[in-house]
């Protein structure tokens, strides 16, 4: 007797997947709409034969992503790109605390790990510890709540108010399809780390961090180059001790460095960006340039494509990173014209796009975001597509179906 299982197309946009086991060998595709109860038995009785009918909403068990970076290093921009790839705009919870740090879209909920501060601003001041210090954070609660969400349970998460520096009354977080935890310490605690299906670290070099903070803060009253410099220096020992070491655990690291295309450049305007992708990560197949596993340097600007100064230079190849095998894709320079971006996209493989030009389309959609013309925007978009792919593979796997990841 044939047993077949039918499943809906696993996509970010279908609310639930159904698995039907029955004895007739009938193949069907079904989308189940339901209101309150999560189980409908006998949904397809007219086909005859004994069957069990399981409705497993992907809502039940979110895929959990961790994003680590220092303050002012582009986490918010990355989150906006990421949620855009998943579809739908991410908004703060409606009708809640206006100072909530949470972003919610149809598919994704992003929480900020500052909400797990155990010491508020006054507490840190009294004890003389920074927010980077693990003593200022409640990792037990972080672990319990991320675990609960991953198991499909809603939690009452505290809210750290960045304006007042106080802990506000908690907000209800219900399990989404994709649950992103972003902040200073997503990979610090081993228990939390083990809950992550994928992790990313944004590694911004000191020179670029300084340049970015000048751009962010110089117009702010009271700030000066000295105050920006003093703040970076004062936080650096704790950053080096508690934040930076997390990059060894990341599945993908985006490293942002000054350009090498302009000799002695230290303006911080043109960037050299490296995407370090760990090999052998389940559901994550690194992007490559031309020939997987080979070492390649590529200057796309020449006879077929002319680029504006200082041009664009790519590099790709295998490497080791903290003892792990990795693939590294590097982009130095910036896109000034659309045809440069399309030309580059067409030479990259394993992008996990659903159609030709999807990377370019995403980049154009958010041309106003910082980094849209350089490697930070390009690699953030590519990681977004990889996470979508990873999500679809995990859901397909849970539904007992072979993953058929759309690859262009």
């Amino acid at each position: 007797m044939a047993i077949c299982s039918a499943h809906t197309t696993t996509s970010l946009y279908s609310p639930c997947t159904t698995t039907v086991s029955h004895s007739s060998g009938f193949r069907q595709k079904q989308v189940i709409f339901f209101t309150s109860s999560s189980r409908r038995s006998g949904g397809g009785r007219r086909h005859g034969g004994a069957r069990t009918f399981h409705v497993s909403c992907s809502v039940d068990k979110p895929v959990v992503i961790g994003l680590a970076a220092d303050s002012g290093c582009g986490k918010s921009t990355f989150m906006r790109r990421l949620t855009s790839v998943f579809g739908g705009a991410a908004e703060p919870p409606k009708g809640g605390n206006p100072d909530s740090n949470t972003l919610i879209s149809d598919t994704t909920t992003v929480i900020c790990l500052d909400d797990y501060h155990s010491l508020d601003r006054n507490g840190r001041k009294e004890k003389g510890v920074t927010a980077l210090d693990p003593r200022a954070n409640n990792f037990d609660l972080m672990y319990e709540q991320v675990k609960a969400i991953k198991e499909g349970q809603a939690v009452e998460k505290p809210i750290y108010n960045h304006v007042t520096g106080l802990l506000d009354p908690p907000e209800l977080i219900t399990p989404p399809k994709i649950f992103v935890i972003e902040g200073l310490h997503p990979m610090f605690d081993e228990r939390v780390r083990d809950l992550l299906d994928f992790s990313i670290y944004l590694d911004i070099s000191d020179e670029v961090k300084f340049a970015w903070k000048i751009q962010r803060d110089m117009a702010e009253r009271g700030h000066s180059l000295e105050s920006i410099k003093a703040s970076i220096e004062a936080r650096k020992p704790d950053f080096d001790a508690y934040i930076d070491p997390q990059k060894q655990y990341a599945d993908a690291v985006i490293e942002v460095l000054p350009t090498q295309l302009i000799p002695d450049d230290n303006e911080g305007k043109v960037l050299r960006v490296k995407l370090i992708m760990k090999e052998g990560v389940k559901h994550f197949d690194p992007v490559y340039l031309f020939d997987e596993g080979s070492s390649i340097t590529w200057v796309p600007c020449g006879r077929k494509l002319t680029c504006s100064y200082p041009g664009i230079k790519f590099a790709y190849g295998p490497d080791t990173y903290f003892g792990n095998e990795v693939s590294v894709l590097e982009m130095d320079g910036q896109f000034d014209r659309l045809d440069e971006l399309i030309y580059v996209e067409s030479h990259l493989s394993n992008l996990s796009t659903k159609f030709y030009g999807e990377v370019t389309q995403q980049m154009l959609k958010h041309a106003d975001f910082p980094g849209s013309n350089n490697g930070t925007g390009l690699f953030q978009t590519m990681i977004g597509l990889k996470i979508r792919d990873l999500y679809e593979q995990i859901v397909a796997e849970r539904a007992g179906a072979p993953a058929e990841a759309a690859k262009v």
Partner: protein, 126 residues
Amino acid sequence: MASTVASLSTPANFAAADVLPRRKAAVAGRVWFPLAALRGGGFAVRSTGPATPPGISDKVSDSIKKAEETCADENVSGECAAAWDEVEELSAAASHARDKLKENADPLESYCKDKPEAAECRTYDN
């Protein structure tokens, strides 16, 4: 008011900036700051966005004053680091508040971002 036009590309603004000697870069644990940056060598600051809400703006400038006071005696204490960390936290909050204002500045823009194909959002070349 805060956030008035500040052009970093005007070198005169930062001629007096404290310039770290280059050899300090070799000192372990120190942050190296690009010399040209400290001279104001060409950073372009976009300052066309909205101003920081005054409540946060005041907090930022107060926190900077306090950090400078706390660190006046010795700048390796936990209190000093915590004080500058507060500056960073508030500066980030100020930046997020400005972004939020920018996003909500034009309701048609935010509507059309989601629905570019809607009649009121279409643009025509001719």
